[in-house]
Every structure is written in structure tokens, then in C-alpha cells.
């Protein structure tokens, strides 16, 4: 029996239609919009102003605190202005807008393909440099990587888990990185192990990617302390707590971080970025983005500069279909519906999913029939039907007691509900309120 996480979970159609498509380099955009908050934490502070000339990879906004991240120019050219742009969240965020001119890279960056195996830096230097290079979690959470590499005092990391699960339907960017950047990935894992001072790392990959499992297993056999763990396909296995449970059998307690059970999780995309940052001196200025959907004629995986408008990616994948209904930043379970096609690609953009009109609308909401299927589906052991009622009736203290803050917003409950109840919509609202109440109390 293959390992998987124990509680709840669902099986959405996988629809990995772009899985066989190699990573292609997207032509440079004419103009990029680089938001100063592409990560969790404080916004970065812009260092450039209108008219400045910047090189590709040059620092253009400095980290605004410990939990924050540096931002580098993804292109070379002239700063057009700093302004607010709508990002994937639907809100207007400050951004640095740069008009592309040529592609002149910062001289310190090694742009060759040569694999650099030797890790010259010490653990502390690695952590520091990860911060300098603006690396954040690229699976979607965008938590600054250097923070995750610095365990709080008194806590020790025992095992590094590499998240190659990619449990969202449609998305294939991590899959392609595992296939095409396997050797770099191994070095990246070594770097993370060195920084965390652990001698064991496990790469978790779902069983629907046998090619990636095979390739990485072969490579891992040559490394000391790195293993590949094939996992049964089940959503949301890519959730940190679910992945740790699946691989180690340990459950991170409510409200605690993975380090509580001695684990740290990094996504494969992030691990590759760490490789490039440490071995190649390359900041996080581009990433692999899957462009996909039932109406997309050429589903693709593109290597894209940060700040490129999503419209350009969709054009390169064959353009919007006529019956287009919804454009999603991310996967269908947790992604965000985009308000327009000018939204820029950011460090956390794993995919662009275009859903046709008929799939873009929800069915009418009916009474809860108390079937308890949402409870069976919830990976956190919550009672979504009840949390929704509590949020509707504004019973915040009861919602808190019923562990509303444990919800990881995976959407399994809404996905499952036969009465099409918008469970997660209400739970999200409740989490916002209860979170505020908790913060005010402390």
C-alpha cells in the first residue's frame, strides 16, 4: 500500500494535459509590472525611481523586515513608474513598472547551463544568501525561504521534505522541473540539507508521475541521505501538514509549525530556485508557469520572467478560447480567479488555468442535507457544515472552539458537498473574523 495522509481528502480529475510539454522560454515581455508584495510578510521597499536604468537581476526593492523578501528586476530597461496594479488577489498593490530594453544581465550572475555540484558556502551563508536572492516558497504559499531555513531557538529540524506532489489538477510546472532539472534539484536539496543541518531528505511525489519518481529515485540512489517516497494520489497531499503526515506519520498540532515535529518542507520549484541562487548567484526573477485548461489549444509550461502579464502567456499557448469563462491564477482547487489579463506573474504563480464558460459557474445552493460528506472530505478533521453555519450566524467564539483557524482552505468540502454549499467561502470569512479577534486579544 502506498503512503498517503490519513484524514479526509478528495480525488478531483487530474487533467494534467500539459504534463508531456517541455519547459519553453517565453519571449521577453515589452513591459513588466513587479509588485513589491509577492510574498507573505512586509512589502519590499522600492530602491528605484522613474527613469532609472536597471539590469536583469538587479535589486530593485529591498526586503521590508525579517519576514519579507528582496525583489530583483526581471528584465533590463528603464523604470517607467511605480504605481499600483491589480495582482492575483484582486487587490491593487504597489508595483515597479519597467519598460524592457534588450536583456542585459547583472555581471555577477552565472547564466551558463553548467551543473555546479560543489557547495562552497557554509550553512549560515546559504541562509543569508537565500534571503538576498529573494527566494520564497514557489508552491503558492510564498513564505520567505530564509525564514523557513532558520528554525526558532530550541527547535531542531530532523528531516527535510521536498514537496513534489503537485496535487492540484492541471498543474505540471513542478513535474517538469523534476524531469528537466533533476540534477540541479539534487544539488538544491543538498544545499537545503546543509543549511538545516539535517542528514535526511525525502522527496514526496504522487504516483501519477512515474517518470519523475523513476528519474529522481535513480539520482537519489547515488546520494547519501536522499530518498524518493512515491505517494498515493489524493488531494490535498501538497498541503504541508498533509505531506508531513503522509511521509513521516507525524501530525503537526493545531496552530503549530512543521518544525514542531522536526520537519521542514520545501517545494521542488523553490529547491531549484535555491540551487540557482546559491550556485549561480541568480535571484528569483523567473519561474515555470503552466498554462492550461480545456479550451487552451497548446497547453504549455513556460519559463517566464516575473511581472509578465498573464495575457501574454495565454496568447503563447494559443490564445483564449471563444467560450472562455474564467481565468484562474493557480490550480482549480485553490487558485484565484483573475479580474483581468494584465495581472502579472509573480513568484507564487504556478499556473494559469482557463476554464470554459460552462465550467465557470457554480450550481445553485440547496439546503444542507447533513450527509456529513464534507466532514469525511476535510483533511483537518473539521466540520465544514457547522463552521459555515457559525460564520453565517456570526458565532465567532463557537467557530474558534470548533477550530476554524485550522482550516487550510483546500476546498475539499465545497468540492464534495452534494448541496453545492459555498462552505469555504463562509469559512474563509469566519477565519478572517476569528483571526482578528485572536490578534486583538493577544
Amino acid at each position: 500500500m502506498l503512503k498517503t495522509f490519513k484524514k479526509g481528502g478528495v480525488h478531483p480529475d487530474e487533467r494534467k494535459i500539459s504534463a508531456g510539454k517541455s519547459i519553453e522560454i517565453l519571449p521577453l515581455p515589452k513591459r513588466v509590472a513587479v509588485p513589491t508584495t509577492q510574498h507573505i510578510g512586509a512589502p519590499a521597499k522600492p530602491l528605484v525611481k522613474k527613469g532609472d536604468i536597471v539590469k536583469t537581476g538587479q535589486l530593485i526593492a529591498a526586503s521590508g523586515g525579517f519576514v519579507s523578501a528582496n525583489i530583483h528586476s526581471p528584465v533590463s530597461g528603464k523604470v517607467f513608474k511605480t504605481d499600483e496594479v491589480v495582482d492575483a488577489s484582486g487587490y491593487r498593490k504597489p508595483a515597479i513598472i519597467i519598460d524592457t530594453e534588450g536583456d542585459e544581465w547583472d555581471e555577477s550572475i552565472d547564466r551558463s547551463d553548467k551543473l555546479v555540484k560543489e557547495i562552497a558556502l557554509s550553512g549560515e551563508e546559504i541562509i543569508k544568501k537565500t534571503g538576498e536572492m529573494g527566494i520564497v516558497g514557489m508552491g503558492g504559499a510564498t513564505f520567505p525561504t530564509h525564514v523557513k531555513l532558520s528554525p526558532p531557538p530550541g527547535k531542531k529540524c530532523e528531516i527535510l521534505l521536498i514537496n513534489g506532489v503537485e496535487c492540484e489538477p492541471y498543474l505540471t510546472s513542478d513535474h517538469r522541473i523534476m524531469l528537466e532539472k533533476s540534477e540541479e534539484l539534487m544539488v538544491g536539496i543538498r544545499i537545503l540539507m546543509k543549511a538545516l543541518k539535517v542528514n535526511r531528505a525525502v522527496i514526496g511525489i504522487e504516483n501519477n508521475k512515474p517518470d519523475a519518481i523513476g528519474k529522481l529515485t535513480n539520482l537519489a540512489a547515488k546520494e547519501d541521505g536522499i530518498e524518493v517516497q512515491p505517494l498515493k494520489v489524493k488531494y490535498p497531499q501538497g498541503g504541508e501538514k498533509q505531506l508531513i503526515d503522509a511521509i513521516t506519520g507525524r501530525q503537526v498540532p493545531s496552530g503549530k509549525l512543521p518544525i514542531e515535529v522536526g520537519a521542514v518542507v520545501h517545494n521542488v520549484g523553490t529547491t531549484f530556485a535555491v540551487y540557482e541562487a546559491i550556485q549561480k548567484n541568480k535571484p528569483l526573477i523567473e519561474r515555470v508557469v503552466t498554462v492550461t485548461g480545456p479550451g487552451i489549444t497548446q497547453p504549455s509550461n513556460f519559463l517566464v520572467r516575473i511581472g509578465t502579464p498573464v495575457g501574454q502567456l495565454i496568447e503563447a499557448a494559443g490564445g483564449l478560447p471563444d467560450n472562455m469563462g474564467k481565468v484562474i491564477g493557480g490550480g482549480p482547487m485553490m487558485g484565484k480567479a483573475l479580474v483581468n489579463l494584465d495581472v502579472p506573474v509573480t513568484k507564487g504563480s504556478s499556473g494559469i488555468l482557463v476554464l470554459p464558460h460552462e465550467e465557470a459557474h457554480r450550481a445553485p445552493v440547496e439546503n444542507c442535507i447533513r450527509c456529513s460528506k464534507c466532514i469525511s472530505a476535510c483533511p483537518m478533521g473539521l466540520e465544514p457544515y457547522l463552521l459555515m453555519i457559525e460564520a453565517e450566524k456570526e458565532l465567532w467564539d463557537r467557530a474558534e472552539n470548533d477550530n476554524i483557524m485550522d482550516c487550510i482552505e483546500c476546498g475539499s468540502c465545497s468540492f464534495t458537498c452534494p448541496a453545492h454549499r459555498p462552505l469555504l467561502d463562509y469559512i474563509r470569512l469566519g477565519k478572517g473574523k476569528v483571526g482578528q479577534i485572536i490578534r486583538n486579544r493577544n
Binding site: 474564467k326 457554480r362 482552505e409 464534495t416 448541496a419 469555504l424
Partner: protein, 339 residues
């Protein structure tokens, strides 16, 4: 590029389950028992099933449309399920008028007066059934003889059910081994060749239906297993203590409504608890109360009452028996730090 984009929060896909899918699934699962019922009770079974379904669907439509002035939701199949289950709980010679009264009570009082599907605390079919049982005890406890009554409806020849044979025999001083010769063999009980309510007799058909429900993930095993298991354990203990007064567990499972109740009535979504642990407690409650009524109470059968009583406890169970949260019991075993 100026097309209007649809904006809504995640998740953007749905698994495709729906209320009608579950309701029609229950109806499909009840088909084997319906076939058995038609085979053994013939025309009477046909008449009461059709009347009950039609009456339930009609009352739902009527009350929603003209009294509550809402959009009728008969197409979700829940009224049809209530109708079918109500029929399965009636003797096959019951007059049409009573079925219609039962359907009106089930839908009107049992379901819609509480706000319709999802809000009713008690299983509507059982509300209808128990109402009839209390108001019309004679008609509700005269049971046509199987096979011979196939071509008869109201005028069907009747006989006592195995449960009442045992109940009355024991209180008249007879012992279980003596009484066993007066009731049908277990094989006949298993295939449904005994007197009783229309749909509750054919054990094999009900088990088949139950397996279908489990396979289609319409129900989980917790309620049926705990109901049947607790009936077996409780009657098993009694039987061990005194085999001459207490019938054996197999008899109790096959006679009467335990199987129909365990797979189809107690599992009613709306009126049963939500957490797995809650379901187990609820199921055990039903099993125990059923046996208490059958063995020590004044009615020969107690499944309907037991389910209704436990329905009343469901809100309390939901309040105190929460699902086990993720991370509640932290594993303390540390994984090895080397290969």
C-alpha cells in the same frame, strides 16, 4: 481581450455529487427489496408502494407550492424516498385512506413543518408510520400471509409475525424452542417469505441494497454495523443467559425491521449524527433500545421507536461528539534520522 471574466472564490471545480444523486441512489438500493415484496405480497405491495410514493410527492408539491409558496423541490427525490420507505413500513393490506393520511403526516408534519429537507429532526417516514401505528393499531398490525395473498389486497389472509408469535408465546409461558416450530425457517425469513411490513422482510435483498449504498459511498458503515452489531451482542447475551425465554441473535436480526432500519432508516442523512463516533453511539443506542422494546416492552417490534428516540438525541450527539481533529493525537515516535 475584453471579454468579461467570471470571478468567484476557490474551489473552481466540483466533484459532481448532488442531492438527487444520493436520493435516487437510495431508491436504486431499495429496488431488490421492492422486487422481493412484490413477489411475496403481490398486488397489495404494488398498490401501497405506488400510493405512498405518489401521495408523498403530491403533498410535498402541494404544500410547497400553495402553502409555503416556495419552489417545489420534488425533483430532488427526497419525497419519493420517504414515500418508498413509508410503504416499506406498512402491512400490504392497509387501506388506501390510511396510506394517504400517513403520507400527509410524514411530509406535512414530519418534514415541511420544520423547514423541509435538511431541517427535520425526525425521520419523516417513521413519523408517518408511528402516527398510523398509534392511531390505527388494528390495521397497522394485521399482516398478510406471503405468497397466498399475492392476488389479494384488503381481503388478504393474515397471520401473526414471527416477532409477535414469540412475544405472545413467551408471555403465555411457552419456551423459545417450542415457539420456534411455529415460525418460518430462518431461510424463509432471509429471503422474505414471512409476514410483516411490505419491505422489511427480505433480509438478503436489504443487505444487497445496503452493500450498494456503501459501494456508492452514499452511507458509511458506521450506523448499520453499530445497529446490527449491538442487536446481535445484546440479544446474544440474553440468549446465553436464558435460551428458553430469549430468542437467538439471528432471529432478532432477520425478524422485523432491523435490517431495513439499520441500512435505510437510521442512516437517513438529516436525522443522524455527523461525526463517525457520533454515528457509532447513535447506532448502538438504536440497537439497544430496539431490543429493550422487543424483549421487555409491550410492542413486539421496536426499531421505529428506537430510531425516533435516537433522532431526538442527534443534536446533542453532534454538539458533544466532534470528529477527531488533525493533529489531536501527536505521534511521539521520532522517525529515524538516517536511512
Amino acid at each position: 481581450m475584453n471579454q468579461k471574466l467570471v470571478i468567484s472564490p476557490s474551489p473552481h471545480v466540483h466533484g459532481g455529487d448532488s442531492v438527487p444523486k444520493n436520493m435516487y441512489g437510495v431508491i436504486i438500493a431499495l429496488l431488490p427489496a421492492l422486487v422481493a415484496s412484490l413477489w411475496f405480497f403481490g398486488i397489495g405491495a404494488l398498490i401501497i408502494t405506488l400510493t405512498s410514493i405518489a401521495a408523498c410527492v403530491f403533498f410535498e408539491w402541494l404544500i410547497q407550492k400553495y402553502l409555503l409558496k416556495t419552489t417545489p423541490s420534488v425533483s430532488d427525490g427526497s419525497a419519493a424516498v420517504t414515500g418508498l420507505l413509508l410503504a416499506f413500513n406498512l402491512p400490504t393490506n392497509i387501506p388506501l385512506g390510511l396510506i394517504i393520511i400517513g403520507a400527509a403526516v410524514a411530509i406535512g408534519i414530519g418534514k415541511l413543518s420544520f423547514g423541509g429537507l435538511g431541517n427535520n429532526p425526525f425521520n419523516p417516514a417513521l413519523v408517518g408510520r408511528v402516527f398510523l401505528l398509534i392511531s390505527f393499531p388494528v390495521q397497522m398490525t394485521s399482516w398478510p400471509v406471503p405468497i397466498t395473498s399475492r392476488l389479494h389486497y384488503i381481503d388478504a389472509e393474515t397471520a401473526a409475525t414471527p416477532l409477535s408469535v414469540i412475544k405472545e408465546g413467551v408471555s403465555a409461558g411457552q419456551t423459545i424452542p417450542e415457539l420456534m416450530s411455529e415460525i418460518p425457517s430462518y431461510i424463509n425469513m432471509f429471503i422474505g417469505n414471512i409476514g410483516g411490513s411490505a419491505g422489511e422482510m427480505a433480509g438478503i435483498a436489504l443487505i444487497l441494497g445496503g452493500i450498494y449504498l456503501l459501494w456508492k459511498k452514499i452511507i458509511t458503515w458506521h450506523i448499520p454495523v453499530s445497529v446490527i452489531g449491538s442487536v446481535i451482542i445484546f440479544t446474544g447475551i440474553l440468549h446465553l443467559i436464558d435460551p428458553s425465554t430469549y430468542a437467538d441473535p439471528l432471529f432478532h436480526v432477520l425478524a422485523g425491521g432491523v435490517l431495513l432500519g439499520a441500512f435505510f432508516m437510521a442512516t437517513d442523512y438529516v436525522t443522524s449524527p455527523m461525526s463517525r463516533q457520533g454515528m457509532l453511539l447513535y447506532g448502538v443506542g438504536i440497537g439497544v433500545i430496539t431490543v429493550l422494546i422487543r424483549v421487555f416492552g409491550s410492542y413486539p417490534e421496536g426499531v421505529s421507536f428506537a430510531i425516533l428516540i435516537m433522532n431526538a438525541f442527534t443534536p446533542l450527539i453532534d454538539r458533544y461528539m466532534k470528529p477527531k481533529r488533525f493533529g489531536e493525537k501527536v505521534k511521539t515516535v521520532r522517525a529515524q534520522t538516517s536511512k
